[in-house]
Symmetry: C2
Subunit: 225 residues, 2 copies
Amino acid sequence: MKRPARPPAGSTAGPHHLPPSGARKIGRPSKQRRAPYDIESVTNAAVRVFNRHGYEAASMEDVARETGITKSSLYYHVSGKEELLARALERAFKSLLGVLDEPGARSGTPLERLRHIVYRSVIITLEFVQEVELLQRVKGNTPTERQAMARRRRFDREVAALVRQAAAAGQIDAHVDAALLTRLIFGMGNSITQWYRHEGRLKPEQIAETMTRLVFEGIVRAAQG
Amino acid sequence: MKRPARPPAGSTAGPHHLPPSGARKIGRPSKQRRAPYDIESVTNAAVRVFNRHGYEAASMEDVARETGITKSSLYYHVSGKEELLARALERAFKSLLGVLDEPGARSGTPLERLRHIVYRSVIITLEFVQEVELLQRVKGNTPTERQAMARRRRFDREVAALVRQAAAAGQIDAHVDAALLTRLIFGMGNSITQWYRHEGRLKPEQIAETMTRLVFEGIVRAAQG
């Protein structure tokens, strides 16, 4: 799945993904890096700034500096911080909630559908690693944050319902607490944002495969002592 | 395992655990709540403040207000924010690293030792939920933060070594990436701090048991489709 919302890889708007920490210089970028910019690259900059300083502490001034444009130019593009947060979170949700509508999530046994959702959620998390990191820090202080939390809960509820179906079908332990299991599984998936780097040695498919096997089969193999 | 460092339950120093969000009044606590206080209740207050505002954004003024004493009284007890952070993180590490020295972590097969460590780490995480939450937010900007990150890495390295031993013994999949598996497992454990409440319906033992089964046996049961 590509991310059409982002500027093309050859764009001069700078790297879209996490820069190596400490590598980013504070201050006004060179003129060459400043233009062109658009709403998507402004959103990219906002995501970096919000994750670095926290949404509440971050200012439009910080976003302007990160983007390399003046604050008044920034307000020409967006109404304010809240809109930038909404745009950033929309990226994550569009894809995450989209997983629930994929064919693999709609057909097959509850267990097969669950496996598809877990695997694909990890892939999406790694594709939108900064947006998902931001989503986790949302505290519910603004309407946008509360909407995000409600959407997140809807995702969790749909998955928990599938866990219950799998339990009813005898595919997973019937005594398990579906809500707890769902939280543990997606808590593990979310935690990857804390250490994952696009340029790292681990590929998204390897991480998704390892986590999916862990969740469904566990780590114990035949010859256990 | 008790937490001897904390004031007794009947202390007037206020609740030690996360208050229901929104329930805490901003402002100066009543005189009755102000005394007595000691270094441990000051540390409790600091942990709450650091988690609420972020360590960097939080001030000694905020900690003083939360504790209900003046800033100058606060400096009589501690040298500053960094010391409070160090004291808070020390609580988490003393117990987390202590798990590695427990009999169950020192004897038995690699798999048995691993199982003990996973289970006990969840119990400790839930006991020190606020301190572990704080630990996860540490960014490495100060010597105390860097020391905490180094200690956390040492814990991860020791567990990863045990995962490798279990793989060598044929107890777990030999092809698994031990460092990745360790990160996923403890990422899941850490994520519990984001939703766990001491007064909630889920008991620590139930959460620890569910997570341990998930990690070792996975969720799939015999009758899978």
